[in-house]
Symmetry: C2
Subunit: 313 residues, 2 copies
């Protein structure tokens, strides 16, 4: 038996048979890169991720170019990848972004809300309720257009200004997003402070307010090394949608200590060991992340990627 047999596949009780990875690398991962990444490189990144077996790849954001210069090429990028046989959600911050996305044929859209007033103010320059009021007609029109809508909710487990965030507050905003028509939510631990009991408490509180687990995705950051333990807790609760970023790309510009998304490679290693189907080819994925790391000129923070790269040397 060779080392290629690793990780050993040993299922654990009461876990889902299949997990859908919502790959956020091209959007969330790249959006804060200072040096402009060529549009063709972004398109190739998405193509390679699709080729590695990822079926949901968040492609870009139709945000105002002045807000996120790195994604100012959304109009050029999206048509280059839209015929790939995968789901390609795009972020839309407002009615203008929605128009741009729909005009290019986007059929999966996402809006980005905050669970806390401080982050809503910092990121959107609005109160939480003002931001929801902006999103409501956007989501309504997206649904009329037949699109699938994901609602991101950031700072669900802690906030750099406010500290702890009450589960009650998170549930209230989740309920509002679903009531306006969002098909699924992504519960974001934007500063990476969550621990497994907190994850379970929020999921249970949402269930109690008639939010089905099937409508919930989790989006953990590895700032304090907790992302995969929190993911395990979420899987044990029945969550089957997990956000991750190839190579661990990305962070949060408004939260300095938010040093990165859960790396897709680290997630796939755990899921593969647990016998949970993701459809992802780990070798192709790591090759893609290494290729992207070369383009960006710095190594990936993914531990699995580093370990596998090291083995090949």
């Amino acid at each position: 038996m060779s080392a290629d047999a690793l990780p050993m596949v040993v299922p654990a009780p009461d876990l889902p048979a299949r997990v859908r990875i919502h790959e956020v690398g091209p959007r969330d991962g790249l959006q804060n890169e200072r040096a402009s990444v060529p549009t063709e490189v972004k398109a190739e990144f998405i193509r390679r991720l699709a080729d590695a077996g990822l079926t949901t790849i968040e492609a870009t954001s139709f945000v105002h170019p002045a807000w996120v210069p790195q994604l100012a090429d959304a109009e050029q990028l999206f048509p280059m990848v839209r015929d790939l046989p995968v789901d390609l959600p795009v972020l839309v911050p407002n009615a203008r972004g929605l128009d741009r996305a729909l005009s290019l044929g986007a059929s999966r859209l996402a809006v980005f809300a905050s669970a806390t007033e401080s982050f809503a103010k910092a990121n959107l320059n609005r109160t939480v309720d003002e931001a929801l009021a902006v999103f409501a007609p956007v989501v309504a029109r997206a649904k009329e257009a037949g699109a699938h809508v994901r609602g991101y909710l950031s700072m669900c487990f802690g906030d750099p200004w406010e500290g702890a965030v009450s589960v009650h507050q998170v549930v209230r905003v989740c309920r509002a997003l679903l009531d306006m028509g969002c098909d699924e939510l992504s519960l974001g631990d934007t500063i990476g402070v969550a621990t497994p009991g907190h994850v379970l408490e929020l999921l249970s509180a949402l269930n109690e307010q008639r939010v089905p687990t099937a409508a919930l995705g989790v989006h953990f950051h590895d700032t304090y090394g907790q992302a995969l333990a929190n993911t395990l807790a979420a899987l044990q609760h029945g969550v089957t949608t997990v956000d991750a970023s190839a190579g661990g790309l990305g962070g949060c510009p408004y939260a300095k200590s938010a040093t990165g998304n859960l790396a897709t490679e680290d997630l796939v290693w755990m899921l593969r060991g647990l016998g949970i189907d993701t459809g992802v080819d780990l070798g192709r994925l790591t090759a893609t992340s290494e290729w992207m790391a070369d383009r960006l000129g710095r190594p990936s923070p993914s531990r699995t990627l580093r370990a596998l790269s090291h083995k090949e040397q």
Copy 2:
């Protein structure tokens, strides 16, 4: 509420109320450092760890100085710390090491076995059974002397040469170590490949062979980012002894991809969030690891340590 309220304390069901962290930084963490660390620095490291609330601190190894030059000062170091009000286990590889340790008053000893033939050969230059035959009289004499004996078992979840390791093989060596008198075992994922189902399978298999969970500690490496998820699974099974290394110090010289022990800080963050008592003061611990990182001249790989250091800037 300030950010100091993080992580929020939210217990999860069916976890232990208290966990004993077996701190391995001074021995396992430092043993592969190339540059010699002054004995006084090691003693100060141990004192600071004790002051941070760690109650079990593996201090050094009474191995032949030629094997591990970094720990050649065990005779000088141990008397400098032995009066601290904490448990200070020391590693003893053979009868000679046992004599040296006992003569200095060590009352907690550890032996280091391998679950695989390849690693036994590489690390000990013996077969698994030959190594066990060497340990048997060492453990017997240690017990006669009234000492507590821990048995380390490495490569429990995978081996760099052999790949997957059968649970049956691991259970056999565990049983042998307990039968010769070991009080507790430390199940080592030396190359960091384990996933949570594999952890649960091994723990259950040991229980079936009359090994009580109370006699089991877990020793995970974060090579593939899995250490904390595996720890959560072990806690859910009832394990209450977890090995970790302050600042994530350490690796394994015979397994190049073994890039590090679980960082004590990352572990404490999770346990604190779960409301599990460890007695550790996270602020003092991170200050200690930063102090040690300065002595070694390179940053710690602990994500929690990095995040907290960043916040202070």
